[in-house]
């Protein structure tokens, strides 16, 4: 087996560990800390109803058997049935995923498209206007609550200017405000990172060599420093994507009533549908693992010095 295959196998294994750990946390939280039966049934449920549900969930079994059973059904993508919608949880997830992918895809694309040029120009001319915009954006990214940012954008663009719809799914214009809300703080954080890693790289000795070779500025920046700044930048992009999937989309989708996975998670909590929430956590964990694995492969492609 060659080196690359080993690399993939080891990373897959590490990803499996992440998924198992998340599963274990979910299991401990839902089964051991809380009592799913008490949460899922109304307060006036009879003891017989409780007993039936307990048996249906396998809660009468010893804990280790429960865990094995829990694992087995999860890996078979059997997430049980939603208490809220009375249909398989996997169907709900499948239905909601495209909206979340759209939102995250558009938002992150916008963030990258904003951040790369801003960060680059800021690194080239520190203290000038683009640098100030980058700093201001990054402060937005650090300090403004996402839900509030979304509401302010709704107020400005939907209530005052009346040029964009305030919420809900639908056409492309419906995606604009949620995507911008998701993108702006990420763009600020990303631009700041691009800026600082490019400044680091521009001071590296190999840039002196490139300058001494008489290379034009676009080539020094566009080829020499970008390849070296790529790994930290991609790491940050990956981190922003995972954070969006497992956190920010919940907020943005709630603000804009965007029918994705994040809104489903909040609705599951409101309806005390623990199994659905648990299924969402598991699916998102899988996606996070896949993203990280893909990134690792890309790193290896960019930087041949990286070993397993």
């Amino acid at each position: 087996m060659n080196e690359l295959s080993w690399f993939v196998v080891r990373r897959l294994f590490q990803g499996l560990v992440v998924v198992l750990t998340v599963t274990a946390i979910v299991f401990v939280v839902t089964r051991l800390i809380g009592d799913p039966v008490a949460i899922m049934l109304p307060l006036d449920a009879t003891e017989a109803q409780r007993e039936t549900l307990r048996r249906a969930l396998g809660l009468d079994q010893p804990v280790y058997l429960q865990f094995i059973d829990f694992l087995r059904s999860l890996f078979a993508l059997d997430f049980g049935e939603s208490y809220w919608q009375h249909r398989p949880n996997i169907d709900i997830i499948r239905e909601r995923l495209p909206a979340t992918f759209q939102l995250v895809g558009a938002g992150m694309l916008l963030a990258v498209v904003l951040a790369l040029p801003l960060g680059t120009v800021a690194a080239m001319y520190p203290g000038r206007l683009p640098d100030r915009i980058t700093s201001a954006l990054s402060l937005v990214g650090l300090s403004v609550p996402l839900f509030w940012l979304g509401l302010i954008l709704i107020y400005v663009f939907a209530a005052q200017l009346r040029i964009l719809p305030s919420s809900g799914p639908g056409t492309f214009v419906h995606l604009v405000l949620p995507a911008v809300t998701l993108a702006l703080p990420s763009a600020g954080r990303l631009a700041m990172l691009v800026r600082s890693s490019l400044i680091d790289e521009l001071n590296a000795p190999y840039v002196k060599t490139a300058v001494a070779k008489g290379l034009p500025l676009w080539r020094i920046l566009g080829v020499h420093t970008y390849v070296n700044a790529a790994v930290p930048t991609l790491t940050m992009i990956g981190w922003e994507v995972t954070r969006s999937l497992a956190g920010h989309t919940i907020i943005v989708e709630t603000v804009f009533a965007w029918p994705g996975l994040g809104l489903a998670a909040i609705q599951a909590i409101q309806r005390e549908d623990l199994l659905l929430l648990q299924a969402i956590v598991f699916v998102v964990a899988l996606m996070v693992v896949v993203i990280n694995l893909a990134l690792d492969l890309v790193y290896k492609f960019i930087d041949p010095r990286i070993s397993v």
Partner: protein, 332 residues
Amino acid sequence: MTPPVPTPWLEVDDLWIEFVTRRGIVPAVRGVSFAIGPGESLGLVGESGSGKTVIAQTIMGLLQSPGRVKRGAVRWQGKPLRFGDRFPRDDVRGHDISIVFQDALAALNPLLPVGTQITEVLTRRFSLSPKTAKERAVELLALVGIPEPRERVRNYPHEFSGGMRQRAMIAIALACEPKLLIADEPTTALDVTIQAQIIYLLRDLQQRLGLSLLFITHDLGVIAALCDRVAVCYSGKIVETGPAEQIFARPAHPYTQGLLQSSAARDDGRDRLLGIDGTPPDLLALPPGCAFAPRCFRADAACNAAVPPLAGVGVDHAAACIHPLVGAEAVR
């Protein structure tokens, strides 16, 4: 040896360079002048902190803040060169002059194949097609003595050994077919045996390609093998300059003599430095007179009174010393 031609290629004229630091303004280079003619090789010698690397970087337009040129000029074939731009671009640097750095591992881009780092010069400078550029890159690697060059163009710098990396660095510097090559301590980071190979390679290349060479080192022994002329740097000034044989046979400045003795001592296998006691002066608190006076066994009141100018002590041989060594004293 070719005598210097009336119009030299590179002229460094009364160059003053200073660095702004927390403790004050450091005068790193104080009025240095020298010239290099076609095919000529000049060795610039000095301890670390004597300003020799700063001079090389300034010639290449690489001097960066907090350093700045206070006064003076660098001319290439009579045309003054600009400095102070962060990304200087002209048709001299990277065309007629190129440079080899000390630490090839740091100076090469770690994430680009060595071949690419050569071809990017070729396509820019000579507008070669990618295919011809690659052929030429293979030739260049072969020229600097890298075995199996056709395979090696695809390798990354970390896949080369130290000596091979320095050879690749030289190949990159030669890619633009320069007239003058600046080598800034190219052998310091290498093993002794590898050092000798690189020196031999440089001498060979210089003769075969008719290059001018500005060789910067702290090691006089290396200069002897490579250079026609020597300029000795001390605390940002040139204290002695002249033909290599003369300087080696009859050093006029006590500092040069000290350097020669310490270099000879090292060659004899004695591990301690002979000749120079004390440490180089703090550039922020230079003595009013000769900067070497506090360490000099010949110093007297006159030496501490005023900075001695470079004055002729022989044919084409000058020293900045009030009491230059003469006759038997000068024999090392």
